[in-house]
Each structure stands twice: as structure tokens, then as C-alpha cells.
Symmetry: C2
Subunit: 364 residues, 2 copies
Amino acid sequence: MANPTLLILAGDGIGPEVMGQVKRVIDWFGTKRNLAFDVSEDLVGGAAYDAHGTPLHDDTMAKALAADAVLLGAVGGPKYDALDFSVKPERGLLRLRKEMDLFSNLRPAQCFDALADFSSLKKDVVAGLDIMIVRELTSGVYFGEPRGIFEEGNERVGINTQRYTEGEIDRVARSAFELARRRNKKVCSMEKANVMESGILWREVVQKVRDADYPDIELSHMYADNGAMQLVRAPKQFDVILTDNLFGDILSDCAAMLTGSLGMLPSASLGAPTDTGRPRALYEPVHGSAPDIAGQGKANPIACILSFAMALRYSFDRGDEAARLEAAIETVLADGARTADLMGEEGGTPISTTEMGDAILSAL
Amino acid sequence: MANPTLLILAGDGIGPEVMGQVKRVIDWFGTKRNLAFDVSEDLVGGAAYDAHGTPLHDDTMAKALAADAVLLGAVGGPKYDALDFSVKPERGLLRLRKEMDLFSNLRPAQCFDALADFSSLKKDVVAGLDIMIVRELTSGVYFGEPRGIFEEGNERVGINTQRYTEGEIDRVARSAFELARRRNKKVCSMEKANVMESGILWREVVQKVRDADYPDIELSHMYADNGAMQLVRAPKQFDVILTDNLFGDILSDCAAMLTGSLGMLPSASLGAPTDTGRPRALYEPVHGSAPDIAGQGKANPIACILSFAMALRYSFDRGDEAARLEAAIETVLADGARTADLMGEEGGTPISTTEMGDAILSAL
Ligand SMILES: CC(C)[C@H](C(=O)O)[C@@H](O)C(=O)O
Ligand SMILES: CC(C)[C@H](C(=O)O)[C@@H](O)C(=O)O
């Protein structure tokens, strides 16, 4: 049987550096665990714009659709700030999400024991935190039409459209309930049904899916503003949070920051199963391209490596190997290995991106 | 000269209880500080629905438009959850905001020294926190058309429209810059210009207003998801935050919760000046109607009393008297007076809503 295929899109800023360490980890699984992948690489974001004048070339799009999983680094940087909206680095990422139809974005907010002190929150509020945010990723205000800046009378008006069909809500709700089944069986769905009709439909469909097919899951509903408050007040009350594209963008970043170490957090974006039985899938760290430290060997590769662990679990059904990799990372952290972003007030000497890769490989 | 007029809309849940203490404070200013108001009262929210079948009667709307300032308690409660969207308690509040054209919503997130321990954040992260969030309140996705739930093919679709004109952005930006001038002269504007065209227009207009008329103000721009992260990570980096209606709803609640004591936070919603020279204005606590503790004398009246202090400052140009009231509240807190919501881990005996009112009056 042919090896499964991975497309690596390292992107901009620290993307290539952190992805360098992921490639070493992939190789390790090929040689040591008999889990080989056929890896190819291509450009996305500013790097693709520089080469082709577009943040995602059609050929790259085709490769992404053909791959068993895509690993993405990060996109964007000040160099591209002045570009037109339509060719900004982010458009490459948004196109991947849309054309691969990656409707379910999984964002774990997990607090690593060794790093609980990094949070701006009190230790007892976040120690042991383990939330999964399921964010709808292919619809809502990110993609709704009409959109744009229009003339109206003698002024301009900026318009975007929040838009959800029953089917779009239904499928992402199912993915949240499925996940909850493998966790603590609790889903909290967040919207603004008190203000937005799209939120009313959201709430109704989510409840219907639960009642019809997931009676074993405890479902609650919360307004998104209250959700933001509760995340700050007592985040451990949550197991799985289900929400739309825009609320999910904000709430998942809020939740991520509760852990205090953004350089640690991976994400998975999943679509429907293809002929192979595997979902279309893209994995990427939550952190951005961090142009201020790019090229200096300072970046923390863990989030990107944990994104590969998510690929092992969600694309290749190798939760066992994912757990092995995650355990290696916990060991390394417990042993005190710290990249610059993980330096606390105690100080100490940070290790480089490559040294962190070395440490993880030797722990494996 | 006639006394200025105040319309009190106590609303639902704990609204009437906390407003009861505000009325005592208003009386005190009338008798002791020669600052008398003509006060009238009416219904809003569920209370108005129970009486009239609508969450805001047209007569009440007319009174609100005629008053020099409106003081609102809180709206909503489980009793009204099953009502149709169009007559839910919240619609009363949203109608007031819209018809009074209260485009600038001021939400201070302030950490009281005596209460810094209540925050779920580490003390050094929040002690001394003093942010002002300026939220656009009469436009955006809250009011944009088209909106509703429509049939499309064989399924339903929920639609809302995010919509901002240049004029709407311009006026709220000015109010943020004016406020910043009286504070630390820093404004951070938040949107999702990387994804939404309405955010691009927002950013452009805010920058133009700053460059033309507020060169003394330091303006920065931040994506709203990063804004949520930064609020959690290091909130003291901010002075004034300017944002739209929906982002403002979420970010201001997130910021409010940083302080750990929601029962302390007031808000002001301001419109354009009327013939009197005063802005149209509505003042309300940030907390909700807390139906679970309503009628038990447990509610903290401070947020509602501080909302009246904001009225003194922003409607009646009596910053001196507002400061007097705020100082009395600080004194009371420093002396250890605590309603049930302010009980920490040390325990102690909470005082009642009325006792807190007593304490504040005697500190005055
Ligand atoms: C880069 C940007 C377009 C993106 C988003 O808004 O979805 C990012 O913030 C994210 O959350 O993945
Ligand atoms: C009650 C609700 C309609 C309101 C809003 O969403 O604006 C509330 O959350 C607020 O922030 O004042």
C-alpha cells in the first residue's frame, strides 16, 4: 500500500523554522515507528505571493485537495500589510479552508502542568485546563455575500453578511458531539440568539441534532458575550465549546491565551471524509508568523509538532502514536527545556528551535 | 431653572432592588448637594411585556426621548425565554438604544484596589487596571438588514448583516478620541480588517479622523481576536479601546470579567447633544437581571449607583459630584462592606442590598 501523503505549506515568518522541526519528527516516525509518509512541500501566504503574485497558486490548491493531510506553518507579515485585500497572505489560508471545505476547526486549549505559571490567570483557575473549541470554519461572516465597500448616497458603507444554513450548522454540531463522546460528554454552544436570527437558527439546529442523535451528550447554550466572561472566570467548567466562525475566532484565541503559552497550541481543521475514508484535513499551530523573531532560531516548534500529533490522531487514526509524541513533549517540558517564549520570571537560558527539536527527538 | 429630568426604568430581576438604592442616592444629592432631579419611572423588558405585551411601550419610548437621562436596571429572565424574538425583553433595550441613537457605549473596566483579589487573573496583571471600552451601539450586525430566517431550497438559512457607514464610524471614533484626551491619550481600535471589508472601512475611517483632528492621540489598530488575547495577557497595555457593536459586546464583557467583580461595573450609552446641550443618554450596570437572586436583597447595587455617577459626569457635567460618589464607594469597600457577590475565600458575612445603600449614604 502506498504511504499516506502530507503536503507541507510552511508559509511565512517562523513558519519554515518550526516546520523544519516537524519534518524531523515525521522522519522519526517513518524510520522508527514504521509510519512513513510521502511528503511534498509548497508555498502559501506571503511566500506564495512573492513567487506567484497570489497567496495560493491553483496548483498548490490542487495538491492540497489531493493530499491526505496538509500541514501549515503560519502566514502573514508586515511586508504584506499594504497589499490589496484579495491577495493578502490570509486569503491563501481562507481559500484552503473554503475549497477543502474544512468546516470543523478543532482548537484545544490545554494547560500543560509544567507551564501553568505562565498564565496571567491564577494557577488554580487554569491548572489542568482541557477544553476543546469546535469552530465552524467555512461559512458565517467570513464568506457570506454580499460583502464589500459600496457607495451609498455620498458616503461609503462596509458590508459583510453572517449566513448559516441548517445543513452547515448540523454538520459542525455533529462533529462537536462526536468529539464530546470521546471526552466528557458535555457541549456548550455559543451564539447571540438574543440579538441575531442566525443565532436563533444555530441554537435550534444544534438542539435538534443533540435530541435526535446524541441524547447521551449534555448540551447547554450560552450567549457568546457571557461565554467570553465564563472563559475568563472559570474556564474549567467547559468540555467542548461549539461556536460559529467569527465567535470561534475570538473565543478560541481568548481560551488559548488562558493557557499563557500560545507557542504550545495546535489546531486541526477537518472536512468530510474523502474516498480514502479520511477527512480532508489541515493542521496548523494557533500562533501566527511572528515576523519579529523570524529567522533567529528562537521560535517554539511545539505547537506545530503538536499539530502533527493531531494529524496522527484525526487523519491517520493513530491516537497511540499521537499520544507517544505528546508524552515526549510533556517529558521535555517537565525536564525544563524552554524556548524563549517560555522563559518565566525566574529567567534561565532559552534553547533554540533546533535544540527543542533535538530534545523532543531524544525523548521519543 | 427647572430641574433636569431622569427617567428610571428599573426593569426585571434585581433591577428594581438595585435601583431602589440609586433612588436613595439621587435623593441625597437633591437634599445635601442642591442637585435635584425630577425623577419619573416606567417599565422596560419583561416587566413592560407583562403589563403591555411589549418590552417597551411607545409612551415609554417618548418619555425616554424627552428625559435628560435614562437610568436602566436590567432586563430579562427565564420567564421570558420562550417569547418570540420580537417581544423578548432585550428588544426593549435595543429599541431604546436605536431610537435614542445612543451610538457611543462607554464601558469602563476598572479594578478596585479593595477587590483586586476577586479577579481570576493574577493580582499584578489586574491591580490598578483602568480601561475604557468605547463600543459602537446603534449599528453593525445588531441592526443591519437583511436579517431573519429564510427558506432557501429545501432548508432554512439564518442571515444577519454587518453594516457600517463612514458617518457611523466617524462619530463613534470622535467620541473615543475625545475620551482619550481626558485620559492617557491612547486609543486602540479593534476589528477584523483581515477578513471583513466592513473592518477595512472601519480602520480607514478611524485613522482618517485621528490624522485630521486628533494628532495628539496615539492610535493603534488590532485584530479583534488578538484584542481578546491581549486583554487576557496584559490588559494594562490599553487605555481606550474603540470597537464595533458585536466585537464590543464580547470584548467589553471579557474586559469586565478581568476585574472579577461584575457587580461593580457601570456603563453609559451616549448619543448626539439635544437642544439642551446634553447628549441623549442612558446609564445601566453591566451586570444582568440575575433572576436567580432576584427579590432576596442579595444584589450588589454598586454598579447601578456608579452608573448614576457616570450620569453626573457625562450628562450633567458634574464630574466633581461623580468623583464624590465614587470616592464614597471606594471608602465603603476599603472598610470591608461586601454584598454576597463580593465574598472571597476568607468568608465573612455579606451585607444586604439595602445595607450597602446605607453604607454608601453614610460614607457620603
Ligand atoms: C489569519 C486569520 C484569517 C485567521 C482567522 O481569522 O480565522 C486566524 O485569526 C485564525 O484564527 O486562524
Ligand atoms: C442584553 C443584550 C441585548 C445586550 C447586548 O448584546 O448588547 C447585552 O449583552 C449588553 O452588552 O448590553
